[in-house]
């Protein structure tokens, strides 16, 4: 089925480790986004991408790295995980930015010990 899938769904790791969260969409949407969801903060944009090889920072980019070598994939890497990065991470995509809705994956619950 077409859609947006995130992997893994759950991940536990230790501080200082590198971890990569995967996001894959089958719609060929131009735009892709990464959010984190935390109690008391709602959803906050980490990074977004307008097309392959084009990425830009969102509201909370520090400590994260993204890449977009192919339109359908948008991995998010935590280079050296910290406890403050424990969160639920959502990937989203949209056909166009702004006026069009974004379509969300089911999220990755990441715990950093």
């Amino acid at each position: 089925d077409a859609g947006i899938t995130q992997s893994p769904r759950y991940k536990i790791t230790e501080t200082g480790r590198q971890v990569t969260l995967m996001c894959h969409q089958t719609w060929s949407h131009s735009y892709m986004f990464w959010y984190r969801q935390d109690l008391g903060h709602g959803l906050r944009l980490i990074y977004y991408s307008a097309a392959a090889d084009i990425t830009d920072k969102g509201e909370v980019p520090d400590g994260y790295v993204v890449s977009r070598s192919k339109t359908e994939n948008f991995p998010l890497t935590l280079e050296s995980a910290t406890r403050s990065q424990t969160s639920v991470y959502f990937c989203a995509s949209s056909e166009l930015a702004g006026k069009q809705p974004q379509h969300f994956g089911d999220g990755t619950r990441l715990s950093i010990l």
């Binding site: 735009y31 986004f33 709602g42 959803l43 944009l45 977004y48 307008a50 830009d56 969102g58 959502f90 989203a92 930015a97 702004g98 006026k99 069009q100 809705p101 974004q102 379509h103 969300f104 994956g105 089911d106 999220g107 619950r109």
Partner: protein, 112 residues
């Protein structure tokens, strides 16, 4: 700058009674507005969207919302709540560019 305020963090209704989830927005230009629903351990699912066409917008699962520019509101309603409607609901505004602004969310509880 744009902002979204969901006026109630929690709403509790009985099954079969109407649902009203309130949302006010602030936007410099003509916005697009969305309502999303999030069930436990799931992503956000689009319920409906307003993009400057009809002010009364119908969505999935019997939900609808009315865009009122004079009141800067976009309240979500449903005539009759179902147990499966229990979830968290987000009002979202989109303006120029790539940024969405999310409200803080309203948790809807449905009592049998």
């Amino acid at each position: 700058a744009q902002s979204v305020t969901q006026l109630d963090s929690h709403v509790s209704v009985s099954e079969g009674t109407p649902v009203l989830l309130r949302c006010n927005y602030s936007s410099s230009y003509s916005p697009s507005l969305f309502w999303y629903v999030q069930h436990p351990n799931k992503g956000l699912q689009l319920l409906l969207k307003y993009t400057s066409a009809a002010t009364l917008v119908k969505g999935i699962n019997g939900f609808e919302a009315e865009f009122k520019k004079s009141e800067t509101s976009f309240h979500l309603t449903k005539p009759s709540a179902h147990m499966s409607d229990a979830a968290e609901y987000f009002c979202v505004v989109s303006q120029a560019g790539n940024m969405l602004t999310f409200g803080g969310g309203t948790r809807l509880m449905v009592k049998p």
